[in-house]
């Protein structure tokens, strides 16, 4: 997995330590800690994982193993307005694949990539449970329902500023 090399400043390291401490530095709480860390940094680069491993007193390899196991965690920064197309069964049956293709075409990225300007990343997700609105697309936290390939341009236009 490719990752981005960054250097954490002291403030960020302290912040991470605080997060770990709020879970009593319990190794059991690794997943909860990672959720919090990703909330703060937007992603989980190797440097963040190293600090967490040290604080919870577990091997860095273990933290890495957990991060890469769960699809919710990412080591690549997401776009400013991340786009997720639901490819759960209900959305698939109602044409999610065509919608996804249209996003790929218009943004010129593949699933899991971010546009060069850092604006949009494209990912798939499995069922947000709003199957009545299938096919569903999420941009950030905003839910778009009954999206057709024709509607893709309109959604993207909302973020053109």
């Amino acid at each position: 997995m490719s990752s981005v090399k960054i250097k954490l400043n002291q403030k960020e390291v302290d912040k991470l330590r605080e997060v770990c401490a709020s879970f009593n530095n319990e190794p059991d709480e690794l997943i909860n800690v990672l959720h919090k860390a990703q909330e703060i940094f937007g992603y989980l680069p190797a440097e963040v994982q190293e600090v967490i491993a040290e604080e919870l007193n577990v091997a860095v390899a273990k933290v890495y193993g957990v991060v890469t196991f769960y699809s919710f965690f990412t080591m690549i920064p997401k776009g400013k307005h991340p786009i997720s197309v639901c490819t759960g069964t209900a959305c698939y049956v109602r044409g999610a694949e065509k919608v996804l293709d249209e996003f790929k075409r218009r943004l010129n990225v593949e699933v899991g990539e971010t546009t060069p300007d850092g604006k949009h990343s494209l990912s798939c997700l499995r069922c947000v449970g709003a199957c009545g609105l299938a096919p569903v697309v999420l941009v950030g936290e905003k839910v778009y329902g009954r999206v057709s390939p024709d509607g893709v341009a309109e959604i993207l236009a909302e973020y053109e500023v």
Partner: protein
């Protein structure tokens, strides 16, 4: 809720919220304030009504008026017409699709007529963020009864007698599971609520937690009392932020009211609940994987035995139950095991919640007695197939289940009959497919899911499913032969027999059941390289017929990749090497000159 004459219930489920139902709620409240009606009429944001297809929904009590597809702009009219003048807003009422008549009372809607709501009894009736409303509808009464009048053994016996079986997929008798955990001797035991709901297309657990979180808390406490556990954990998907928020609020309120914590209801029983988050891994719904995930590990399953009831979370006896299973518990104690076991079929008692989705008119969440037929569910409750297309199949049991066809429509739904038909109950996802869906592609779709979600621990599942997927890929690309079909059957057998956990053991089911029921379709793919439904893009071509083509250039202008060439007023042609088969040209041609071959 007594002091108000009228209640306006606004659906606050994830689906309706995505369509601005909170703005509707605010507007209704503001209108009432302006008209000075705030003391007579209350607006409540509830959990899901189930009728997601026609959301956002606003329901008026006591007369049960059911307004569909409401927009914020309708708020004023609802208040002025319905609340003040007593005249229903006809244009917002649900119209029966066959009789075209407006139905004002939801009890008479085809969607609700055949339903029986036990697990969903409070969803859509209460404000899930207000414990008082839950209590007004008997929340925690069962807990009071159990703690006050029964020993753990007596209470467990009632669950056993009810015949309740686990709703998370396996269908294991719930009472027996409780008994097994209770028998273990340990200084600490745990009860766990499985709210991972990984089956894509199923959303009943989410709706229960969003609409009636207290029922789960109450049932877990009863479960704790019966098994001797003082600690409960809810493992919930991180993809369900609204359910998480409402559960947190409910836990806080339950603690405030002394319904959680030390010495509950003064009966000397201590019980606490904590939340643990999933992080997007389907296999974590499997109970041993779930336990490892809660311990901060990779969510890989381990061999059973030992079962969690013997050695689970932190190596202590642990009872794992599904959200919907829990939602049935309080009612069983209030109405009795006999009442519950009178509902359903011989071996499957009570009701089951299904998430109806796909090519069906009424997408939504439904609850029916076990033994209801697929036909009743799809045609009477679901309102039939979308756009008057022909029914082809219904998929139950998600990635572990199978596709059922026309000939299974009159099968009564229960755990055992679905298995006999080559599918399974699973968690209750029900995806309806019509003539436009290709069954080979469907099987491939599920396999893609399995390949992505396999934890990789054991070879048959990790490698076998990948190979299986490749075989299907060849077939949908028109490169398959009958030999591939034989290979597929063999591989399916090996994967089923040798995988470590339920994920691998059931992953070939979608393939096997579509082969059993739609063999002709597989044959057409490998022998004639044809996909009748037109779903397999590689097996089709867009062709312009020179005869009717007048050279209007409409198609060439719309083609996104410039695959169409031709002189104005002369016949056009499509360059197959460029065409991406989007179909845009077909829709644009007024002369029906473009066809799919």
């Amino acid at each position: 809720m007594a002091k108000y004459k009228t209640h306006l219930l606004v659906c606050g489920g994830t689906g309706c919220k995505a369509s601005a139902s909170d703005v509707i709620k605010d507007k209704l409240t503001r209108e009432l304030d302006e008209k000075g009606l705030a003391d007579e009429c209350q607006v409540v944001m509830t959990g899901c009504f189930g009728f997601c297809e026609k959301g956002p929904i606003v329901k008026v009590l006591p007369d049960n008026t059911f307004y569909t597809q409401v927009t914020p702009d309708d708020a004023k009219e609802i208040i002025e017409e319905h609340i003040i003048k007593g005249r229903k807003v006809d244009r917002l009422l649900y119209k029966d699709p066959t009789s075209k008549e407006e139905i004002s009372d939801s009890k008479h809607m085809g969607f609700y007529k055949k339903q029986m709501r036990i697990a969903l009894r409070n969803c859509g009736f209460i404000d899930p963020e207000n414990i008082e409303e839950a209590i007004a509808r008997d929340a925690y009464a069962a807990l009071g009864k159990v703690l006050g009048e029964m020993t753990p053994v007596e209470a467990t016996q009632i669950v056993l007698d009810s015949g309740l079986r686990g709703r998370g997929g396996g269908g294991f008798p719930t009472g027996l599971k409780w008994k097994l955990t209770a028998q273990e001797k340990a200084d600490q035991k745990y009860v766990v609520c499985n709210a991972d709901e990984g089956d894509p297309g199923a959303f009943m657990d989410r709706s229960i937690l969003e609409g009636d979180p207290h029922t789960v808390i109450e049932a877990m406490a009863i479960n704790g009392y019966c098994t001797g556990a003082t600690k409960g954990l809810v493992y919930i998907r991180a993809e369900y932020p609204l359910a998480i928020t409402r559960l947190k609020i409910a836990l806080e309120q339950a603690r405030e009211y002394g319904l959680l914590g030390k010495d509950i209801l003064g009966k000397g029983f201590d019980f606490e609940i904590e939340i643990r988050y999933g992080a997007g891994a389907f296999v974590c719904g499997e109970e041993t994987a779930l336990i490892h995930s809660m311990e901060g590990e990779r969510g890989e399953p381990t061999f059973k035995p030992p079962f969690p009831s013997v050695e689970g979370y932190r190596k202590k006896p642990t009872n794992v139950n599904n959200v919907e299973t829990y939602a049935n518990i309080p009612v069983i104690f209030l109405k009795g095991a006999e009442w519950f076991s009178a509902i359903g079929t011989e071996k499957s008692k009570g009701t089951k919640v299904f998430a109806l989705a796909g090519k069906i008119n009424n997408v939504g969440l439904i609850e029916v007695p076990m033994g209801t037929t697929l036909r009743e569910v799809i045609y009477e409750i679901g309102g039939g197939i979308k756009d008057s297309k022909k029914f082809k199949a219904v998929q139950t049991g998600g990635p572990s289940g199978g596709c059922l066809t026309e000939k299974h429509l009159d099968t009564p739904i229960d755990y055992d009959s679905l298995i006999a038909c080559g599918s399974m109950m699973g968690s209750g996802g029900m995806i309806v497919m019509d003539e436009d869906d290709c069954m080979v592609s469907m099987a491939k779709f599920y396999l893609e899911f399995t390949v992505e979600e396999s934890c990789g621990k054991c070879a048959p599942c990790r490698i076998g499913n990948k190979r299986l997927h490749e075989q299907l890929e060849l077939i949908t690309q028109g490169k398959g032969s009958k030999e591939n079909l034989e290979k597929i059957r063999d591989l399916c057998g090996v994967i089923k027999d040798t995988s470590l956990c339920g994920l691998g053991q059931t992953s070939p089911n979608p393939v096997l059941s579509t082969m059993d029921n739609f063999w002709d379709e597989y044959i057409a793919h490998v022998e004639e390289h044809k996909c009748a439904s037109g779903a397999c893009k590689d097996l089709m071509k867009y062709i312009i017929d020179a005869e009717p083509c007048v050279g209007c250039t409409a198609c060439a202008r719309v083609c996104p990749v410039g695959a169409i060439a031709g002189e104005r007023k002369g016949p056009h042609t499509i360059d197959q090497s460029i065409c991406i088969k989007c179909g845009a040209c077909v829709d644009k041609c007024k002369f029906n000159a473009i066809s799919i071959k």
